[in-house]
């Protein structure tokens, strides 16, 4: 109990001190408000603008979640294929790595040219960004299964499918979830990047409008929303992880917060 409180209290105090310093600096107008708004003005615009932001938040969430889910389906399929079909891994692996090294910020405008200003390019960007972490960690998990377990099942006459179902997939779960968590933190950001390049609505468009109106406190408010959404997504995945792997004793320090 003591350790818990300590874990929470230290960062909270540190954070509050930082905010106070920031607020004081802003009060003394060291930087003009359009360069660095004060925390109080950010919170105020967050509260007052929340209702008008709601639609944009939903749009960005929709793009992020859709892209995320597509990425999950694709990466599970590809990871399992890489594991079970010989030679597939050798051909696909380099392609995956290369797809991840392409700078998204440069590719995004091209996507707009190819796919227009609707949801499609944003969802594709999210899928691209979220894709890599999942198959890699999932593949590691699948490969790292105890060989003796597989031999045991084989000696009992298990089919390939049964081997997957009873041994490989459960043991790959921890890797899968850690990949999911990494991808989740990128998903909201990916949708926002897609919107910057062009779009009608969404948090990214909201941020550009605020910036063009020289309302930097609104830009920060949007950033806060993005951070909150990403953390929420992370928490949901952690919850699913705990539920899915009750046999795994994961120490509490493993999670961000209890």
């Amino acid at each position: 109990m003591r350790k818990d409180i300590k874990n929470k209290v230290y960062p909270i105090i540190f954070f509050i001190v930082l905010l106070l310093i920031w607020e004081t600096v802003s009060r003394f107008e060291v930087f003009p408000p359009f360069i660095l708004p004060s925390p109080s003005s950010i919170i105020i615009s967050l509260i007052t603008d929340f209702t008008s932001m709601q639609y944009d938040i939903l749009i960005t969430l929709y793009e992020a979640l859709t892209g995320f889910i597509i990425a999950i389906i694709l990466s599970v399929a590809i990871a399992v294929a890489m594991d079970s079909i010989i030679g597939f891994k050798k051909t696909i692996y380099p392609v995956i790595i290369i797809s991840q090294t392409v700078p998204i910020i440069i590719i995004a405008p091209l996507f707009i040219i190819w796919f227009g200003y609707g949801y499609a390019p944003k969802i594709i960007i999210v899928t691209l960004i979220c894709f890599l972490p999942i198959p890699i960690s999932l593949l590691q998990g699948l490969i790292a299964v105890d060989k003796e377990l597989i031999d045991l099942l084989r000696s009992m006459g298990a089919s390939k499918f049964q081997i997957y179902k009873f041994v490989k997939i459960p043991s790959a779960m921890p890797g899968f979830f850690s990949g999911l968590k990494i991808a989740a933190t990128y998903s909201i950001m990916g949708a926002t990047i897609g919107e910057w390049v062009g779009g009608k609505s969404g948090l990214g468009v909201y941020m550009i409008r605020a910036k063009q109106a020289f309302e930097t406190d609104r830009v920060f408010a949007a950033i806060i929303i993005i951070v909150i959404l990403s953390i929420l997504l992370l928490k949901i995945i952690e919850f699913a992880e705990k539920k899915n792997m009750p046999w795994l004793k994961i120490p509490d320090e493993y999670y961000i917060e209890k």
Partner: protein
């Protein structure tokens, strides 16, 4: 025999020395070569990608007019429209902006300390352009269409004001942010119309044989004949380095006068610095624009108070500005060469 401990100590010392050298060396590398050639470094931030609105500046650079004034000019491209916030933040001495951006920036709750010091073009050559088949002839036709812009509230204000003047329903207009997308690409498929400078995108459409309808803003309402683009400086620069501004404008005016009198050579000089641009477009655009820089004025760059007041009053009366613009603080002709 060297012990493990000694080895660790030795390695740590070497690493520390390397780090120290790097840290000390870094500022020396980054130091500007100010005074290396005896010239004063200045930075100009463009409003967009380089185009023929900026020719005079590039000519002044190429022909050495800035050097003659003891200035080392660096031209920077920002990521989106207008340089107002960068200049206000002191990231450059001069910037390219628009009267509507200056008007908006100076009337928000937290006004930006920027001032217009010269106008590049005397009359407003911008307007709303659309492919001919969308049948957009007046702002009334904006209803039910899609506008592609860069996300500035000034665009929304302008569209609202125009549509209401023509009795059209502003809520029936869809506004999409198309960022830095090319005009012709966007209107082909994604949007119906956009706000362009005739001298660039209008000419381009003509060269590509794409028929467009162009609504020239000054035709819609004489109060909309505002100055765009123009050159801005921060209030700080004005207070601290007035002679810098005079030198800069002297050289820049020379550049634009050269462009006015020699459009073809001007286009070629401009292309030297911007070889990735379409030659045909630059030459055709320069031919058009060279006659527009000075317009009917006796001097380049001069601005009149009535133009500033008319426009800001139009905006304010249409509820598009938070407060009236104090035009005397927003622009000045005092640094232009006499």
């Amino acid at each position: 025999m060297i012990t493990k401990r000694e080895k660790t100590v030795k390695t740590s010392i070497i690493v520390l020395l390397i780090v120290l050298v790097l840290i000390l060396g870094l500022p020396a590398c980054q130091k500007q070569t100010a005074g290396e050639s005896g010239l004063q470094n200045i930075t100009l931030v463009l409003d967009w990608v380089p185009n023929t609105n900026h020719t005079g500046i590039y000519i002044a650079k190429e022909n050495g007019y800035y050097d003659d004034e003891g200035l080392e000019m660096e031209i920077i491209q920002p990521s989106e429209g207008g340089s107002a916030d960068l200049i206000a933040a002191g990231k450059g001495e001069f910037g390219i902006s628009y009267q509507e951006q200056v008007t908006y920036a100076r009337t928000t709750d937290d006004p930006l300390p920027i001032v217009a010091i010269a106008t590049i073009i005397q009359h407003n050559t911008s307007g709303f352009a659309s492919p001919a088949d969308r049948n957009i002839k007046t702002p009334a036709d904006f209803e039910g269409k899609k506008y592609g812009g860069w996300g500035s509230p000034m665009e929304e204000a302008m569209l609202k004001g125009l549509m209401e003047k023509y009795g059209a329903d502003y809520s029936q207009l869809e506004i999409v942010n198309i960022g830095a997308s090319d005009f012709l690409t966007s209107i082909a498929r994604d949007v119906d119309f956009a706000w362009i400078f005739y001298g660039w995108d209008g000419i381009k459409a003509g060269l590509e044989d794409i028929p467009i309808n162009f609504i020239l803003l000054q035709d819609v309402d004489p109060l909309l004949d505002f100055y765009t683009p123009l050159i801005i400086a921060s209030e700080n620069t004005i207070a601290e380095s007035p002679d810098l501004i005079e030198k800069f404008l002297r050289a820049t005016e020379k550049g634009y006068l050269f462009a006015i009198n020699n459009p073809k050579e001007a286009a070629e000089l401009f292309l030297l610095d911007n070889s990735e641009l379409d030659q045909e477009l630059v030459i055709a655009s320069q031919k058009y624009l060279s006659g527009q820089y000075m317009g009917d004025s006796a001097k380049w760059g001069v601005m009149e108070k009535s133009i500033w007041d008319d426009f800001s009053n139009w905006m304010y009366e249409n509820d598009l500005l938070q407060k009236r613009l104090e035009s005397d603080m927003a622009f000045t002709n005092e640094f232009l060469p006499q």
